[in-house]
């Protein structure tokens, strides 16, 4: 078996300074969203100017997704959207939902599992905001959400956010330790929780599943599909797309029905499911190109085109 290199984004140190993040969060909470959004311009400009890696990876992605050759303003918009979603977490986590216009598309069908208090695996990606999803879960008693998060990656931001909302901290399932993580996931699912996880970044010793994605070969994690097949749980997909201004649209889709898959068929099943997920991810990335927040080489097996 070929050796799996450490994913590139793991090497990219968090580029934000703790005191600065805390200052921005403090300012945002006291000034309100409209004023705080003025900060997005210098923040986005800083990341655009100081990050050659970010610029390069943004351009590589945008070349694949945009109908026109990417301009530096496209990269700026992508960074600006990213900064917007991070800033909005402050307001979403402190319960200031009235700041936003959040719409739900396709929710009825896919949330039926959750509505019945039935466990489901909820897959998302670094596309748009995951935090708007909490708004849907809030105020629905039967609907309980747990989120898998790597506390080591992005630790500082997670800590700051967790302090804003203790409920957020309680619903995190720590992504460390392979077998322990799977047991944790099972315990949450067995108690009827919906478990949300990012399904676009390969971590640890997972060789991943190669899929066609935006005209190239990319790798997606294999864990979610194995878990769903072993436990016979439905898989629902959700993307909280930022539309600009104060509007978000949540898109729900059922990817797999509840179904146990015999071990012998699991590899083929995972391949088919991961490819289907990649196609839906591609659909939403094309529809909302600036919501893509994976600023690393997503197609490492492809020769660079620039």
């Amino acid at each position: 078996m070929e050796a799996t290199p450490e994913p590139v984004w793991k090497h990219q140190r968090e580029r934000s300074l703790p005191w600065l993040v805390k200052l921005i969060v403090w300012f945002a909470r006291h000034s309100g969203r409209r004023i705080a959004r003025l900060l997005l311009w210098p923040i986005a400009a800083y990341f655009q100017l100081s990050g050659p890696l970010v610029r390069r990876e943004s351009r590589r992605y945008l070349q694949r997704v945009l109908p026109h050759p990417p301009h530096w303003t496209d990269t700026f918009k992508q960074i600006f959207f990213f900064a917007s979603c991070v800033l909005d977490r402050v307001f979403l986590l402190t319960g200031r939902d009235q700041e936003f216009d959040i719409r739900v598309s396709g929710g009825g069908g896919s949330l039926q599992y959750a509505g019945a208090g039935q466990a489901a695996i909820l897959l998302t990606a670094h596309l748009g905001s995951f935090d708007v999803l909490r708004v849907v879960f809030k105020g629905r008693r039967k609907l309980r959400l747990r989120v898998v998060m790597d506390r080591l990656q992005g630790q500082m931001i997670t800590e700051v956010m967790a302090r804003l909302n203790p409920d957020f901290d309680r619903e995190i399932i720590d992504a460390s330790g392979g077998p322990q993580l799977v047991l944790r996931l099972h315990e949450a699912l067995a108690s009827g929780c919906v478990v949300g996880m990012m399904a676009d970044r390969v971590v640890g010793d997972d060789p991943g599943i190669a899929v066609n994605f935006l005209g190239g070969r990319a790798r997606l994690p294999s864990g979610p599909w194995k878990l769903a097949a072993a436990l016979g749980l439905p898989v629902v997909m959700c993307f909280g797309i930022y539309e600009g201004g104060r509007r978000y649209t949540l898109h729900f889709e059922t990817l797999l029905p509840a179904q146990t898959v015999p071990r012998a068929e699991r590899a083929a099943h995972a391949q088919t499911a991961a490819q289907r997920y990649a196609e839906r991810l591609e659909f939403y990335a094309r529809a909302a190109p600036y919501n893509w927040f994976n600023f690393f080489d997503f197609w490492p097996d492809e020769p660079a085109r620039d």
Partner: protein, 92 residues
């Protein structure tokens, strides 16, 4: 006592083989100290989803729970011997 422990190790190894549909391996030939995780050539080569299925099979057969985030669970998932010891210590 020794014989009972050995018999349980055999049983647990059989459980692993049937729960995970492992072919070309029999419980008798496996070293009870072989690592459960890691490379196939020296051990069982289980992945974390396999571990979950083993935990569920053990719970079903012996009524013994392997709970996440407990040191006992981490230790139990070392080898067939440690799994069998965990079962022996916790089953009623």
């Amino acid at each position: 006592m020794m014989a009972a422990a050995q018999a349980l190790e055999r049983e647990v190894a059989d459980l692993l083989i049937s729960a995970l549909n492992i072919e070309g391996r029999d419980a008798e030939s496996m070293d009870p100290d072989a690592p459960l995780f890691g490379a196939h050539d020296i051990g069982w080569g289980l992945d974390s989803i396999d571990a979950l299925e083993v935990a569920l099979a053990i719970q079903q057969k012996y009524g013994v729970e392997l709970r996440a985030d407990e040191e006992a669970t981490r230790q139990a998932f070392t080898s067939v011997r440690t799994l069998a010891e965990h079962v022996a210590a916790h089953r009623h």
